[in-house]
Symmetry: C2
Subunit: 433 residues, 2 copies
């Protein structure tokens, strides 16, 4: 969940004004003898804003002395990346560590906060359901679980315009990918009465609300800001430069008049991989300025590549990942031959020193796909102690994935073009707004 | 009509390559013993491209020596404005001269060409109609005349998103202006079976073709280019920066699948005031790169402000222009009190030295509104000789405008919301494509 204090691309002067305003607010809450929680929350936000201010200007906040240099902050109010840090933006995720990206550092750099035990307890209380293992393990979210336990409409935005703008392909091809990807999403088991899947390229021409929200966001974000947030340059095409507004607009319920009956006040929760966060930091910054509610964020970690967390998954390299189209045999071969192992070189050494789960891709995959916490813990202990051999660990993963992927392929076969069309038709869902 | 050779925002290297290609083309036409016209046209274009190249690089084109400095040309391949030149861009038109903007200079700077006698004769031959007096006088075009004599579909783009982005108003207000302006356009007498009026804000959400064309243009124009063409800066919002693509997309017939039946090969003629030309220079540059036909342009001059061609018309200053909402009495008072006169201070002097039609706003207005060429010529001679006094000239204009505007107001009253809706509904027009 993103920190409500994280500012978006504010200039030093804007940050200064926010600190001043928040100071006022704290004083007036104290004066009114407001509830302790409320005062505490306001003080916490004040402190966070002061940190933002210091990060942006290099100086402590000093009441009555506005900053002299008001050039907008290019790092969006957040601490800059230091050397050796992982590189994470919406188009590139790179790490030099076999353990994968260091999320604790990323959380500080992105100004978000961890999903802790308190939050998970609260989610379980609210939903009356045990939290999904992705949430329990602090690694991921599951859209379907969220839809089921919260009973909410789900909107899935397929940014095929982004794909067209960034890649060397035609509009038609980008849209075709959308349809194929939609089939995989649908095959995960979403409820057609509660789910709307949209292609930007298609829905922009079907919605009376989407473009109006795009233009509103575009009016409130400057090139300086997107340069700072996304690293665009003067040589980038104007499509890329304005695209963040298209990613932002579905955060607002009025982009979907068919679903939300024209209402502007339905708040949105965006589960996304943390690399997509810059778009929504920007969105959260713009929202109040166009009288909309800020979206909340739920960040996932990245799914590691098969050959090691510091390598890359690529559609053109079949050995870089397990694909949803792989046969049982391919899964077995790929895992046995290519999955990066945390085991020792010989059985003797392995038995003696044990394996390293922190870098073992098979173990990482099991944290995603094995729901049983106890079983997972047992595997970890056995592998670490050396009781479980690499071949045995690989076998567990193979036997977990084979039926899972086969079942997905069966479900996907049932997803006809007609079913995709149903999901992608703007319409009223099974909710009343 | 814009010069087919004018390049858009090409870099020196791109211009160099175009000159080389065109040279090849001329050689092969000569080799094939092509028709003389065809060779002449190709040679003319080659010469124009060489001029563009020289303007962009400061050097003559030298075959085999590509330019070393390939930074994109910030003036769009056209000669830069010199000091004392009029300032003309899509948002500002300024001149220091009471005669108004110097169009001959502007035509050179914008790389377009004059509507000459030959072209008018050709238009008359093609249409079998006498050219409209706006065309005959080389000052303007009349959309309605064009629609009638060419019998073509007319699409009127109302850029209310542009208005929203550039002005301090809401989306709703911008759209409301569109409706009011549409009523005035409709009252001019366009045929509902041949005319489609669109609001960008509305039609973007109604068309399966518009947004796809917008994104295609956006992919092929960089920030550097729009910076060069429109003078945008890093502090401009990303809405302004990407807007030129929205102005461009209706140039392509596939933006209107309802009208053109999905066809991409219907060429477009854009009659517009010359200040809008930068948008379409850019469009003409992009068109072949996305496999579309270049739009042709027909430029109009500017309608002068009442208080003199070097002053500005402003909706907030009632005396700066005659409005379509003015009463007969207001028209009379405004012209008598505020119309900038080319007459002399006293009747005696005027009789002796005559008036100056070149700066007289009443005379300028008559060139727009008096269809009879002979009558206009007589007025010019009499005013120049001193036979016609300023008060008499003003009276002629008053008596020309009063019935014209009253008739417009009568017609406008008949334009109900229902009629506006008809014009603004995407639909098949009375043409088969």
């Amino acid at each position: 969940m993103a920190d409500p204090g994280s500012g978006g691309a504010l200039s030093p002067l804007q940050l200064y004004n926010r600190v001043s305003e928040q100071g006022e607010k704290v004083r007036s809450l104290k004066k009114e003898k407001a509830a302790k929680d409320e005062i505490d929350a306001a003080v916490k936000l004040l402190l966070a804003l002061k940190v933002d201010y210091k990060n942006a200007t290099g100086e402590d906040y000093n009441p009555g002395s506005p900053p002299t240099n008001d050039t907008p902050d290019i790092n969006n109010g957040l601490p800059p990346a230091s050397e050796g840090d992982d590189f994470v933006d919406p188009w590139t995720v790179q790490t030099g560590s076999a353990k994968g990206v260091d999320y604790d550092k990323l959380i500080v750099r992105f100004g978000s906060s961890k999903i802790d035990k308190d939050l998970i307890d609260r989610i379980e209380r609210v939903t009356g359901n045990k939290a999904h293992h992705f949430l329990r393990r602090g690694i991921f979210f599951s859209h379907r679980w969220l839809q089921e336990v919260f009973n909410v409409p789900l909107v899935v935005q397929m940014t095929d315009d982004e794909k067209y703008l960034w890649k060397d392909l035609t509009i038609e091809k980008a849209y075709q990918y959308t349809i194929e990807n939609a089939k995989d999403i649908i095959a995960c088991g979403f409820d057609v009465n509660k789910t709307f899947i949209l292609s930007d390229l298609e829905y922009m021409g079907m919605s009376s609300g989407f473009y109006k929200n795009v233009v509103q966001v575009q009016k409130h974000v400057t090139f300086n800001q997107v340069k700072g947030i996304f690293g665009f340059t003067d040589s980038d095409c104007i499509g890329k430069i304005s695209f963040p507004a298209i990613q932002a607009a579905p955060s607002f319920s009025s982009s979907f008049p068919e679903i939300f009956n024209g209402r502007k006040d339905i708040q949105c929760l965006i589960p996304c991989a943390i690399d997509q966060d810059p778009y929504f930091r920007m969105t959260r910054d713009v929202a109040p300025r166009i009288s909309y509610l800020k979206p909340a964020l739920l960040h996932s970690t990245f799914f590691p590549a098969l050959q090691g967390a510091q390598t890359k998954m690529s559609a053109s390299d079949p050995n870089s990942s397990i694909f949803l189209t792989d046969t049982a045999k391919q899964i077995k071969t790929k895992i046995n031959k290519h999955a990066f192992s945390g085991g020792k070189d010989t059985i003797e050494e392995h038995r003696k020193y044990g394996g390293n789960c922190e870098v073992d891709v098979c173990y990482m995959y099991l944290t995603f796909f094995l729901e049983d916490d106890e079983k997972l813990e047992k595997i970890k202990q056995d592998y670490t102690s050396g009781a479980l051999l690499t071949g045995e660990l690989k076998k567990i993963l193979i036997e977990t994935l084979q039926p899972m992927i086969a079942a997905h392929q069966e479900r996907r076969k049932l997803v006809t073009e007609e079913v995709v069309k149903q999901f992608m038709t703007p319409r009223k869902l099974a909710f009343n707004f």
